[in-house]
């Protein structure tokens, strides 16, 4: 390949390079200041900040990196940089920064301060994996980035080793993840066999041809979907989620539930759109290549996911676990945006992700702050906590309401756009099912409120006054949730500007 191509490809992956660099720096720093590691988090923060700067810098740029010149007439590369990718990278960046702040105030992480260097290094590994997942357009890179992400998260899931449940979570996550990625890899190999290429664009053009063994192809697709489905924890590939979320340190749980989910969605969307969409008309409706009935699969999967998530969440007593199920349910809602196979659905997904980032991280943050004090996430320990610690109580209430999707919170806007997308393509039934689902979800969210406010506070109820920093952190998440509920113009505009997926 020519150097200039390589050179401009380097330009395109500057954020990733920064990430890798800061990863190395972190490791070194870990070695250097092995006495006092107070600096490490700030280094990490700076690293992410710089990355963020480069990502923002990528706005408007679009192009392929690492185009293969060999025997291929088309020059599609391994990675694609486009506003869609940038959007998700920003989501990841935002959540990463928040996670770093979380970690600073998390007692779990404070307990392991001597290994904090590795902790952040691994987080950077995850971020790097996500970045590549988001922009990968080649099955191999997809697989590699997915593994990179997974491997780091396996370790992090069991990182603290404070309780037995940590290592158990790690093991489950590992085995489950390894198997799914194994299946995915096998699927990839089949695709490679059928088409002779691993590049999504090439595959797209090849499967439009007549002579493809559709059965093998769908098997391959389903296997690959198993891999992705496990990342976005959509039923029936979600089983690891509750156990791991409950077992992992809460910061990592939060990170998994937002960042890696978003990366997974970015991957899924890009995979489907670049590989299977043949044509997009002016109304933004996608026409699929007639090899695989994505729509029905997605409808089935999404309804199954949200129903299962909501109904299982109903009788959870551990808040972390309940939030795990609720995040499964939200994966279901998010899939609705893909079900409709229109740009409007895509728009809805993007909007929902911003909202989801805020409210889900917020919920986890409050749970964490409370757990710091009473180190339990059991709902019965929340009785009357709304009175003893008003700020946390009210904020958690707001986050949960937003997760339910009631106005005037951002959650409502997210749901609204999803339903708008559904109604627009006249999928009324699906919309109704989804709405009823959100009624069900109301129960377990409200149940928390009930414990916080309607049950009397006992003398054992702790009164938690957050430190100035954490207080700010909470507000940073609460205020947008409310503001976007009332004034969501900028939100939507941002999302609208990020719909471009290169290639069409």
């Amino acid at each position: 390949m020519e150097l200039n191509n390589l050179y401009q490809s380097i330009n395109l992956i500057l954020p990733e390079i920064v990430l890798s660099a800061s990863l190395v720096i972190l490791v070194l720093a870990d070695l250097i200041f092995h006495k006092d590691k107070r600096l490490i988090p700030y280094i990490a923060g700076i690293g992410i900040a710089i990355t963020g700067a480069f990502v923002i810098n990528q706005f408007g740029i679009s192009g392929f990196g690492f185009q293969s010149t060999s025997q291929s007439i088309r020059n599609y590369g391994l990675i694609a940089v486009d506003s869609f990718g940038v959007f998700f990278k920003l989501i990841v960046i935002a959540s990463s920064i928040l996670i770093i702040f979380f970690s600073l105030s998390s007692s779990e992480i404070r307990k392991i301060k001597d290994r904090v260097g590795e902790y952040y290094a691994l987080i950077f590994g995850m971020i790097l994996g996500m970045f590549f997942m988001i922009s990968a357009t080649d099955l191999i890179l997809i697989y590699l980035s997915l593994e990179l992400l997974s491997l780091s998260s396996y370790v992090l899931a069991g990182f603290t080793k404070l309780q037995d449940r940590n290592s158990e979570a790690a093991l489950k996550y590992l085995l489950y993840g390894a198997v799914s990625s194994g299946l995915m890899l096998f699927g990839i190999s089949l695709v490679y066999g059928l088409t002779g290429s691993t590049n999504l664009y090439v595959i797209n053009s090849l499967i439009q041809g007549p002579h493809v063994n559709l059965f093998t192809l769908s098997l391959a697709i389903i296997l690959i979907f198993a891999g992705i489905g496990y990342k976005i924890s959509s039923a029936p590939f979600h089983f690891w989620t509750p156990d791991v979320y409950e077992g992992a340190p809460i910061t990592i749980t939060a990170f998994l539930s937002v960042a890696s989910k978003s990366a997974g969605f970015a991957l899924l969307i890009r995979f489907i759109k670049t590989t299977f969409v043949s044509y997009i008309n002016d109304n933004g409706e996608w026409t699929l290549i007639n090899v695989f009935d994505w729509q029905s699969v997605l409808i089935a999967i999404s309804i199954l996911t949200m129903t299962l998530g909501n109904f299982s969440a109903l009788w959870q007593n551990n808040l972390k676990r309940m939030l795990a199920y609720s995040s499964i349910a939200h994966a279901g809602y998010l899939l609705l945006g893909l079900v409709v196979l229109t740009n409007q659905g895509l728009l809805a997904i993007l909007i929902y992700f911003i909202v989801y980032l805020l409210m889900n991280l917020g919920a986890f943050l409050v749970v964490m702050l409370i757990a710091n004090k009473i180190n339990s996430e059991d709902i019965d320990d929340y009785n009357g906590i709304g009175y003893t610690s008003p700020l946390l109580g009210v904020s958690l209430a707001i986050f949960l309401i937003s997760l339910t999707g009631l106005p005037p919170t951002a959650g409502f806007i997210g749901k609204l756009y999803l339903f708008v997308a559904l109604v627009d393509v006249k999928m009324i039934t699906v919309a109704v099912i989804a709405l009823l689902n959100s009624v069900v979800s109301l129960y377990y969210y409200v149940r928390v409120l009930k414990h916080m406010y309607l049950s009397k506070a006992t003398d054992s109820t702790p009164s938690i006054i957050p430190t100035f920093g954490t207080g700010i952190l909470v507000l940073v998440l609460v205020i947008p949730v409310l503001v976007f509920g009332i004034y969501f113009g900028p939100l939507v505009n941002l999302a609208k500007s990020c719909l471009v997926i290169i290639g069409f």
């Binding site: 008309n281 109304n283 933004g284 229109t342 005037p408 339903f419 709405l435 406010y453």
Partner: protein, 533 residues
């Protein structure tokens, strides 16, 4: 018309109060109470200012220029992309004859409820903050002219209500609260769906001539704005307007509450603290019927015309059924709750008639029921505060012990029965006159008239069981009402009697709009008016 944004003020003033309260210390109980009182009082003053500047001859209903105190500016605008037109949502407030009475009612009832809240004794801060938030929600629903805005306000009341019942309520408060919550949410989901459906069915032409989808209620009332293929567009041969209407109607009917969706009401009332029952019965129930008048009727006149007979039937069922069930109650508050069910039936009946008299009566009945039932719940509150029981058979002879109280009770009860010279009579009479004038529902009306008898039955029976007969010595120590309670009862009594003697004071406010509305209902969305496009 004053340029001053008075509607915004009257709507969001409580939020301001809420913020103030949130900054107050927990210990400053009285400050909190009197802040709330002041806020609601100012609201009343603002309402009166509205009334004094109100133009009685402006119709409103469907034409924007004849709405009053309009405040309209672009709230959310999202630049267009070819395949998804500009999304625009207006912040659009205004009042006409349909909403003006409700605004007055809301201000009044909130004020009364605030007075009655003065004896709330635990976790005041939260209570009054939520109280004021609720107030904003209610006021907003009545002044919003944009469906989206309307929906936001509609949902806004949900949570405060949930907590107000759930935290300050009676023994089975959790059950009642969650039940209220679920029912209302269930209803509002249908409203949401219809809202989205309408959004995609009608476009509004902006100043620059571009057509955009719209949530603007007034635009949705214009059959000319509908697109050819919108799922709720009358032009679309296989549209879903009928289904949508039913969905919307159920959404509102749950709030009314209309049989068979009424069962949340008794529980909610019995468990809620007195001031909240007052607001619940005084204002919240009206939102259902108001929603139907403001949204279902003018946006779906065609379906409305087809279904008026059914609405009348449901009205009748509400009246008779509610009355009968009330007759069997042993709990004072439950009895009042069911009497509300019965009396909201009159509103339905009046609306179903689609005649000026009927609709006038319906709206007037909404107002009167607001004041009268508020008074009834206050009455229950008074006796419950003192005796800590509501069992109808636990009392007897209270008239000897609490004469002044009994005086007010008599007024309220006879107002409920629909005694002439009290406001209730006029509205019920108008409802009957209107409904009776329509051939198709004349028989229904006659049957409904039984409600008058049953009403007298359970009310007088209650009066006798609690107040007459020999004094039950257990209550020989009860105090008669104090100044706070006088302050709640006297204004209501005056209003009830004043409107009974001089109903035009209220009827003239709504008359023009109602006539316009009825005209609109009969002449729009007809085959001709649509094919004429």
């Amino acid at each position: 018309m004053m340029g001053f944004p008075i509607l915004t003020l009257i709507t969001f003033l409580p939020v301001l109060g809420m913020i103030i309260i949130l900054f107050l210390k927990k210990e400053q109980g009285n400050t909190i109470k009197y802040t709330t009182l002041a806020i609601t009082a100012i609201q009343v003053v603002l309402a009166i200012i509205l009334l004094t500047n109100y133009n009685y001859s402006a119709a409103g209903v469907y034409e924007e220029r004849s709405f009053q105190f309009i405040e309209k500016f672009r709230w959310i605008e999202i630049g267009g992309i070819s395949w998804l037109g500009t999304v625009k949502i207006d912040y659009f407030l205004g009042v006409d004859g349909l909403s003006m009475p409700m605004v007055l009612l809301t201000a009044l009832i909130s004020f009364i409820a605030a007075i009655s809240s003065l004896n709330i004794n635990h976790s005041l801060k939260g209570y009054f903050a939520l109280f004021l938030l609720l107030d904003t929600g209610m006021m907003g629903v009545f002044v919003a002219l944009d469906f989206f805005l309307f929906y936001i306000f509609w949902e806004l009341m949900l949570l405060p209500m949930y907590f107000l019942i759930g935290i300050w309520g009676g023994p089975r408060k959790e059950y009642a609260a969650i039940k209220f919550f679920i029912y209302t949410l269930f209803g509002s989901i249908f409203i949401l769906l219809v809202m989205i459906g309408l959004y995609f069915s009608a476009t509004e032409t902006l100043a620059d001539g571009t057509k955009v989808f719209t949530f603007d209620l007034l635009q949705l009332m214009n059959s000319g704005n509908y697109t050819a293929d919108g799922i709720l567009s009358p032009l679309n041969p296989n549209n879903l307007r009928f289904v949508a209407y039913l969905a919307l109607f159920v959404g509102f009917a749950i709030k009314i509450p209309m049989f068979p969706f009424h069962t949340w009401l008794p529980d909610a009332h019995v468990e809620a603290p007195t001031p909240i029952s007052v607001i619940l019965a005084g204002v919240l129930l009206k939102m259902g019927t108001y929603g139907i008048l403001r949204i279902s009727y003018p946006i779906f006149p065609d379906i409305t015309r087809d279904l008026m007979w059914w609405i009348a039937i449901f009205g009748m069922v509400n009246i008779i059924y509610g009355a009968f069930v009330a007759l069997a109650q042993k709990d004072f508050k439950k009895l009042i709750a069911y009497s509300s069910v019965s009396h909201m039936g009159y509103v339905l009946l009046g609306m179903a008639s689609l005649t000026s008299t009927g609709v006038n009566g319906a709206i007037f009945q909404m107002f009167n029921h607001g004041t009268i039932t508020a008074m009834l719940f206050l009455i229950v509150g008074v006796v419950y505060d003192r005796a800590h029981t509501r069992g109808l058979d636990d009392f007897g002879g209270l008239a000897l012990q609490m004469p002044a109280y009994t005086g007010f009770v008599t007024v309220a009860f006879f107002a409920t029965i629909g005694l002439p010279s009290m406001s209730g009579f006029i509205s019920e009479a108008l409802v009957f006159v209107g409904a009776f004038g329509v051939d198709s529902i004349r028989v229904i009306t006659m049957i409904s008239a039984l409600g008058i008898l049953l009403g007298a039955g359970y009310m007088l029976w209650t009066l006798q069981r609690i107040f007459f007969g020999p004094l039950n010595q257990k209550w020989a120590t009860l105090k008669d009402i104090d100044s706070r309670e006088y302050a709640m009862f006297i204004p209501l009594t005056i209003i009830i009697i004043f409107l009974g003697v001089y109903p035009s004071a209220m009827l003239d406010i709504m008359n023009t709009s109602v006539n316009t509305l009825v005209n609109f209902l009969h002449n729009n969305f007809t085959v001709s008016s649509i094919s004429g496009l």
